[in-house]
């Protein structure tokens, strides 16, 4: 693999646009982050992807104890989308700290741990255990998994409960705290403000949208849990609207998540006001999706004579 950094004999190095972004206390080499649940513990992708080239990666949601996840079927492909009901299968926070994180530390990459719990106390406990772990850059608090009763969505759909969970995590850790909000709400703004007031450093907007699909031959639902979370290009306009609304409602950075498969998609979020973006389902279409988007963003900036990606942020023109 040839990296841009290695092309020292090419003039472009001097004029290489700046892709670095700052999200509260976090400094990322570029705004492209691999989204939780689509990138395993990072290591699964290390054969295909130079993890050091990612702006960051968010590992699969972690709970205090390991969780087995939901029965099959867990996936259903829909038009330009993917329904899933994995059910937060994960190795648990201890195994993550002992087995996964030390291996990840070999890569110079911003690693964020997505966490969830069945109670505000469990969120705090997980946050405490991860606090200051070597090789970990911050936490993403999941108050929005739609696929299990205890997946946090009962917290993320209520401003008061969101405040309680985030305040608890804030107390439990000195690390940067990002809160991943649910799209399955009538108005995301009060919940975003509650997270901000409780001490969140940034918000990820958003998670999968509740959906379902039916096999008309058997008349059975295509997922074992009947409903699941929809991701992929199908949800991009929906999530983009939520990001734009959230950006206008809070003063902390927002990370745009939902259906991004190309630099053009990523740019829409950045123009709407996102500081960074996360790539999820596109990693399944192409393991190099994140890296390709980093390269394409750089090309876009070069083509448009923009020196720093931050110049684009929140530049949505009046119609």
């Amino acid at each position: 693999m040839i990296r841009v950094e290695e092309m020292s004999d090419i003039d472009s190095v001097k004029t290489k646009p700046n892709l670095e972004v700052t999200i509260g206390p976090l400094e990322l080499s570029n705004p492209v982050i691999a989204a939780s649940g689509t990138f395993g513990y990072g290591l699964e992708f290390s054969d295909q992807v130079d993890l050091c080239r990612l702006g960051g990666l968010v590992v699969k949601g972690l709970s205090l104890e390991p969780r087995p996840g939901n029965p099959q079927p867990r996936l259903a492909e829909t038009t330009a989308g993917l329904l899933n009901s994995i059910g937060l299968q994960n190795v648990g926070v201890r195994a993550f700290l002992e087995e996964k994180l030390p291996e990840l530390a070999d890569y110079d990459c911003c690693v964020l741990a997505n966490i969830f719990g069945e109670s505000p106390e469990e969120y705090m406990r997980v946050a405490e255990m991860l606090d200051g772990a070597e090789g970990l850059s911050g936490l993403e608090v999941n108050v929005s998994c739609p696929n299990v009763k205890e997946g946090g969505a009962q917290f993320g759909t209520d401003p008061q409960k969101t405040r309680e969970v985030v305040a608890g995590v804030r107390k439990a850790t000195r690390m940067p705290v990002i809160v991943k909000l649910s799209p399955n709400v009538s108005d995301i703004r009060p919940i975003a403000r509650a997270a901000e007031e409780a001490g969140a450093d940034a918000l990820s907007v958003s998670n999968t949208f509740l959906g379902m699909a039916i096999d008309v031959e058997t008349r059975r639902p295509r997922l074992s849990t009947v409903t699941g979370g929809l991701s992929g290009p199908a949800i991009k306009p929906l999530a983009l609207r939520l990001v734009w609304e959230t950006v206008n409602a809070v003063n902390i950075p927002v990370i745009g998540v939902g259906g991004i498969v190309s630099a053009e998609d990523a740019l829409e979020y950045i123009i709407a006001g996102a500081h960074a973006i996360q790539i999820g389902t596109a990693n399944f279409m192409d393991p190099l999706a994140c890296i390709n988007i980093v390269d394409e963003l750089e090309t876009y900036l070069l083509e448009h004579g923009i020196q720093d990606i931050s110049e684009l942020r929140g530049t949505l023109a009046e119609k």
Binding site: I10, F284, M285, D295
Partner: protein, 290 residues
């Protein structure tokens, strides 16, 4: 100036490792069944029996996900590998339209593959439909390592159009027995009936080793038969995959917990077909969950 830099960057980026396979041929085997040969030395040089690859069948966003295919056979020296597939949906329909010389985005080889049996047992292969594709390179490898070993392939499907690749096995000297549900080829009935008869008729089942691939419901019956006759059974599973590399946890299969990690109450354990498999010891799988 900027345009120039852009062009330089664009050329450099083309070198990035997006692996492509060139289609050598894509031919009809039977109604709805195809065999595709792909030229891709990077994958064929690493392939082993039972491993698979994924293809992105459309550059557009429909279908969204890559499609997994077991590697039917491969030649590392010449750099090609073959897959066998049945048209079952949009993805495989698009595949069937791909012509010679076209390039496909490929990822592989993936998965664990078969362990080639080293003892002197007779080999039984039991394949349902395109499951036969997972067993051909296994038979090739066994014959290459153990000249003259007795291998029998039992293959079944709804009708004669579903019985594919039989000639390839026969040319190698593998004995082939066929079952079709409509009786249009071989015995009338299910593959598992045929397997049951074989095991019943065989006086010495203690030196038989069974390998099977096909739909999970069929494998469940095969595994039950193997258990009843106490013969070792290895299965290659098919799964609905999201990523194909073990990250998304979409294609998991329920297995019995490792007795060494026993927790009380016993925790449900799922393993990833794409990364921990697709080849599993049948005794490891919790078939009741299917």
């Amino acid at each position: 100036m900027q345009g120039e830099i852009y062009n330089i960057l664009r050329i450099v980026k083309r070198i990035l490792p997006e692996m492509k396979a060139t289609v050598v041929y894509n031919k009809v085997l039977s109604q709805g069944y195809f065999r595709m040969r792909l030229q891709c030395p990077e994958v064929s040089s690493e392939a082993r029996p039972g491993t698979f690859l994924t293809l992105r069948v459309s550059e557009l966003r429909e279908p969204l996900l890559r499609r997994p295919f077991t590697i039917y056979t491969y030649d590392a020296d010449s750099g090609w590998l073959d897959i066998v597939y049945k048209v079952v949906g949009v993805g495989t329909w698009l595949m069937s339209e791909v012509g010679e010389g076209e390039k496909l985005d490929i990822l592989g080889p993936l998965g664990n593959g078969f362990t080639i049996p080293g003892n002197e047992s007779k080999i039984l292969l039991a394949a349902g439909g395109t499951g036969v594709a997972a067993l051909y390179s296994l038979a090739q490898s066994i014959l290459a390592q153990r000249h003259g070993v007795e291998i029998t392939l039992l293959t079944g499907g709804a009708g004669s159009q579903d019985i594919i690749c039989v000639d390839d096995f026969e040319e190698m000297g593998v004995q082939v027995l066929v079952a079709t549900e409509d009786g249009s080829m071989g015995e009338m009935g299910l593959l598992t009936d045929l397997l049951g008869d074989q095991l019943e008729g065989s006086l010495e089942t203690d030196d038989v080793e069974l390998f099977s691939a096909g739909p999970k419901e069929m494998l469940k019956k095969v595994a039950r038969l193997a258990e009843a006759y106490s013969i070792p059974c290895t299965v290659s599973l098919e799964g609905r995959m999201g990523c194909g590399i073990g990250a998304c946890l979409g294609c998991v299969i329920r297995v019995f917990p490792d007795p060494l990690d026993a927790v009380i109450p016993p925790m449900t354990v799922y393993r990833r077909i794409c990364r921990d498999g697709p080849v599993f010891d049948a005794a490891e799988i919790d078939w009741d969950s299917i």
